[in-house]
């Protein structure tokens, strides 16, 4: 390490000047060395660049090792979430179109009926199995029954009158339908029959419809 005096002597010699000037100049210019102190603290950018270049174990070096597993975990979680969303939406669309296998469709319809604000359709009714060689049965629909005039009949008293038609009088324990039931089931225009498809009791009603249909055939 050269001192300012050495440097000034060299400079004077290089310029062919009297080297005796060196002490005079050094007395003042030598104090410039006071401006040279300790190495300054490197900026964060420089520290990070040094750590990156030389691979020191500073905080900036540790950071990627900690971050990588977290990023990998997040990536897996994201992939799982995407898979779940895709599966749910695909199943939902298929269920809405009633294209799922019948047991699954039934379960989903049941679930949606109880727990969701909307309902998926119940599975389609399976057609009865046909015997080989047997002709397919025509679908039998009940003939529309002409409503019999009941209002204004002398023998008939409406529901609130308490009197019941003689022929239809119901004894306790009698299995026959009441007249009211018959009226309810008598025609396609009745209110209850229009609800029967969506009501839970619809299957029972359809059974009575069948009976009435056969009865009309007879």
């Amino acid at each position: 390490m050269t001192t300012p005096l050495d440097t000034l002597e060299t400079m004077l010699a290089e310029c062919d000047l009297d080297e005796d000037l060196a002490p005079v100049l050094a007395a003042t210019l030598g104090s410039l060395d006071h401006l040279v102190g300790e190495p300054p603290e490197p900026s964060p950018e420089l520290a990070a660049a040094v750590a990156d270049r030389f691979g020191s174990t500073t905080d900036t070096q540790v950071l990627p090792a900690v971050v990588v597993p977290i990023q990998r975990g997040r990536r897996l979680a994201l992939a799982a979430a995407v898979a779940v969303v895709a599966a749910v939406s695909t199943t939902g669309i298929a269920a809405a179109n009633n294209k799922l296998p019948e047991p699954v469709q039934r379960e989903i319809a049941e679930f949606s009926r109880h727990y969701l604000p909307f309902e998926f359709p119940a599975p389609k009714q399976q057609a009865p199995r046909q015997q080989p060689g047997q002709e397919p049965k025509k679908e039998q629909r009940p003939e529309p029954v002409q409503p019999t005039p009941t209002v204004g009949d002398d023998d008939h008293v409406d529901d609130h009158g308490g009197e019941v038609d003689r022929d239809d009088r119901v004894e306790p324990g009698d299995d026959r339908d009441t007249r009211e039931d018959r009226e309810d089931n008598s025609g396609p225009g009745s209110d209850d029959s229009s609800h029967s498809g969506s009501d839970d009791s619809g299957s029972d009603d359809s059974g009575s419809d069948d009976n009435s249909g056969h009865g009309s055939d007879d």
């Binding site: 100049l25 410039l32 190495p39 420089l46």
Partner: protein, 182 residues
């Protein structure tokens, strides 16, 4: 602790201890040079200089220790010139504070470093021409050789030698006149 060709080669090969030697030898002088020339942010600029030096280690660096020293002060000088030009174009409009003027008083944060004698030396140097001042400061503060100084300034060695000669003679006259008037 000297900056040798072997140290520079080791730093280029990725030796962190060698880099520490490079930084500990050069950074104080770069900071001193920037501080003496009145750079706006000497510490921040020093870090910028060494960021560039770090990048240069991976690139094409020739000349070993001399090449590295020349490179560091070339960058520092270029940043300083940019800083001075920027401030000349758009000077900071602040009320004059004598306590903050390095030519007349030592800033509080530099009190420990810049002694009264150093302030006096800077006042003499301020009376030199820009190029003469730069040459003298690079020779004394940065401890560069004539050839290294010429490389930093992008001038020929004879031209720098001439600037050096005129600067030293001017300083001698200034100091002598000062001594007479005392």
């Amino acid at each position: 602790m000297d900056l040798t060709d072997e140290v520079v080669a080791a730093a280029r090969a990725g030796d962190q201890d060698a880099w520490r030697v490079v930084y500990d030898v050069l950074a104080p002088r770069v900071l001193g040079y920037l501080r003496a020339r009145g750079a706006d942010d000497p510490e921040g600029t020093t870090s910028e200089v060494f960021l560039a030096v770090l990048r240069a280690l991976d690139g094409r660096l020739e000349g070993g220790a001399t090449g590295l020293r020349t490179l560091a002060f070339s960058i520092a000088h270029a940043r300083l010139v940019d800083d001075l030009r920027r401030r000349a174009r758009r000077p900071d409009v602040v009320p004059y504070d004598p306590a903050g003027d390095v030519r007349t008083a030592v800033p509080a944060e530099d009190t420990a470093l810049m002694t009264v004698e150093a302030s006096r030396a800077l006042r003499f140097l301020d009376q030199l021409g820009e190029d003469q001042r730069t040459v003298v400061m690079l020779r004394i503060l940065a401890d560069l050789t004539l050839q290294e100084t010429a490389a930093v300034l992008g001038r020929s060695v004879p031209a720098v030698k001439q600037l050096q000669r005129r600067g030293l003679l001017a300083l001698k006259e200034l100091m002598t006149a000062k001594e007479v008037t005392r």
